[in-house]
């Protein structure tokens, strides 16, 4: 999966929705100062993070280890 960092607003709905805890909050920030999510575990490719993201900032490519 890919996070378009410039569009992210740090709401972490992606972290909340992921059923396998593949995402978590990171300490990194984008240019606007919003804290970014990061992939921390295996992604099953269910696409729920891609769909819930209010800023359309996530693209799930396929299931992967990150």
């Amino acid at each position: 999966m890919r996070i378009k960092e410039e569009f992210c607003k740090g709401c972490f709905l992606c972290v909340w929705v992921c059923p396998v805890d593949a995402l978590d909050e990171s300490d990194r920030r984008n240019e606007k100062g919003y804290r970014l999510p990061e992939q921390v575990g295996r992604c099953t490719g269910c696409r729920q993070c891609e769909m819930i993201c209010p800023d359309v900032a996530i693209e799930v490519v396929e299931a992967d280890e990150g």
Binding site: K9, F12, L13, V15, Y34, Q48, M51, I52, C53, P54
Partner: protein, 266 residues
């Protein structure tokens, strides 16, 4: 076709606040449309988005489609003219709880009664988000808004019951905590002929959440997931397909009148 082909990504990031439920609605609508444009189920040149005024009503401006950003409460009035004069258009109305049920309440019940063939997506965040958080007809009793600082003394409208009472044949309720189901519901609404209404319980973290004990958008979607059910459960809001019927749409009835009156229907 990809979601980025349907959206005006040159306008990104959009104006909605972090964690705004309107963004999730925009997201799943764009994905459902992209799929339908790709497989030929829908023609982008014949798909029109209509909205009123509010944060939710800003959504059409982010789509690479023809759209009408109308006046507050009036998207269904504009949609009535659009669809009746051009029955081959797919008309999708995006509205808020204030837009649809307060200032636009009469248009809502009459569009349902007439069975106007449109898909209505109502972003129901219980509040007037755009203007700073005034009470709306769906604000739960007791909740705090700028105009009800001591708690809302009024009982809220159940928008699905309202439009079903007025005759709407296809009615569903989902939430922004259910993006997969919401996308499927939009697909069904596009497939149905007649008035399709989707009540989308949504979060406004900025002007509703923080006044009512929610620290952020995550706590709000968590609440939406925990307090809704696809079964009739005590103390939970019923979500899912609430009615799925068919009834002759308004534009077909009007065509019959025109034929009787001696015109050719155009």
């Amino acid at each position: 076709m990809d979601v980025e082909d349907v959206l005006r990504m040159d306008r990104w990031p959009h104006i909605l606040c972090p964690g705004c439920g309107n963004g999730t609605i925009l997201n799943v609508l764009a994905r459902e449309l992209a799929e339908r444009f790709e497989n030929g189920d829908l023609d982008p040149d014949k798909t029109v988005l209509v909205s009123g005024i509010g944060c939710s009503s800003r959504l059409p401006g982010y789509f690479r489609l023809d759209s009408l950003h109308t006046t507050h409460g009036r998207p269904l009035a504009f949609a009535t003219g659009l669809k009746t004069a051009n029955p081959d258009l797919e008309v999708i109305v995006i509205t808020g709880d204030g837009d649809a049920a307060a200032i636009g309440g009469n248009h809502l019940i009459h569009a349902a009664r007439r069975n106007l063939d449109v898909t209505v997506i109502c972003a129901n965040n219980y509040i007037y988000g755009m203007t700073g958080g005034q009470v709306s007809p769906t604000t739960p009793e007791g909740d705090v808004s700028t105009t009800t600082p001591y708690g809302n003394p009024e009982p809220p409208f159940d928008l699905c019951e309202l439009v079903m009472g007025a005759g709407a044949p296809h009615v569903e309720r989902w939430t922004t905590a259910h993006p997969v189901q919401l996308k499927a519901a939009i697909g069904r609404a596009l497939d149905r002929e007649g008035f399709s209404f989707i009540d989308v319980l949504s979060q406004c973290p900025t002007n509703y959440g923080r006044r009512n004990g929610f620290r952020d958008a995550r706590e709000m979607v968590e609440w939406l997931r925990e307090n809704t059910s696809t079964r009739d459960e005590e103390g939970k809001i019923r979500i899912g397909i609430l009615r799925d019927e068919e009834r002759e749409p308004f534009h077909a009835r009007i065509r019959k009148v025109l034929e009787k009156a001696g015109g050719d229907g155009d």
